[in-house]
């Protein structure tokens, strides 16, 4: 009796959407959650699908890269996508087919991999005084006075309100167009940590500009 109630509670507490899943998705989940040789076969089969998706995305985004690099990036992306999928298997809600959901991981990882490769041999600027680029942009003759004044105020706020490291991150991402995942990799950090720094920096800048009478 108690065991039955416990079992019912357990099934309620774990979100299952098996009634919503299409047959193909349900089979994928069962095989990936299984054990032994069948699970290994499912992993290998999913990996091959992910390689195909990643190869498509890498070729689309990585024009100019060598064919051997493209294949290497596609396989790395598929590896990372498979790891991410297996870690998030319980988050699959059945809103789409399982393979559609899985492909998105491969496409995301492929996009990140191509960006990283594109920046691999490029200097990633991280200089706190590069905020002056903003002032240079403000000086272009085709901008009206109001815009120039605002950009000048942003430059001044960057210098006055942000710490040097906040300045470096903000400038690298927003002015130098360094992709955030490239910067995260260089700094051995996470995108989340960099996003938080950017969020804090923007909040400080907004407050500073409001103090100066700018309506944002």
């Amino acid at each position: 009796m108690i065991a039955g109630a416990h079992s019912s509670l357990m099934s309620l507490s774990r979100p299952t959407h098996s009634t919503l899943l299409d047959d193909d998705s349900r089979v994928w989940l069962e095989r990936l959650r299984g054990d032994g040789a069948e699970r290994d076969r499912a992993h290998a089969q999913l990996h091959e699908l992910l390689v195909g998706a990643a190869r498509f995305e890498v070729r689309r985004r990585g024009r100019g890269l060598r064919p051997s690099d493209l294949d290497d990036l596609a396989r790395q992306s598929a590896d990372d996508a498979l790891m991410a999928i297996l870690a998030k298997l319980d988050e699959f809600r059945g809103d789409s087919r399982f393979t559609t959901w899985a492909y998105k991981f491969a496409l995301l990882e492929a996009a990140v991999a191509v960006r990283r490769r594109a920046w691999q041999d490029r200097e990633v600027p991280l200089d706190s005084d590069h905020w002056a680029l903003l002032a240079d942009r403000a000086a272009t003759p085709d901008q009206d006075a109001e815009t120039g004044e605002l950009i000048g105020a942003i430059g001044a706020a960057i210098e006055a309100s942000l710490t040097p490291h906040q300045r470096r991150i903000l400038v690298a991402v927003t002015l130098e167009d360094v992709p955030i995942d490239v910067l995260a990799e260089r700094l051995n950090s996470t995108r989340g940590a960099l996003y938080k720094t950017l969020h804090d920096a923007r909040r400080k800048l907004r407050a500073r500009l409001a103090e100066k009478g700018f309506d944002l």
Binding site: D79, D121, H165, E185, L187, N188
Partner: protein, 72 residues
């Protein structure tokens, strides 16, 4: 099959970039080289601590992985 992160070693250009950033933040050369090559250190957190006034050597000690001995 999937590779682990351990198979990915930062290229020399990335290591020298990290060393430069750490030297600029005030770390000694040998310490900067060691931290730059150690994947257990989050350089963003480290530079953020130094940014807020923490002495570089202390910041390194704060962020040292628990399983390794602290920096002298």
């Amino acid at each position: 099959m999937p590779r682990t992160d351990h198979s990915r070693v930062a290229p020399t250009s990335v290591l020298s970039w990290r060393v430069r950033r750490l030297r600029e933040a005030g770390l000694r050369g040998d310490l900067a080289a060691r931290i730059a090559a150690d994947p257990a250190y989050d350089l963003h957190e480290l530079l953020g601590l130094i940014d807020r006034g923490c002495p570089p050597a202390t910041a390194v000690r704060i962020l040292a992985p628990l399983e390794t001995p602290p920096v002298p």
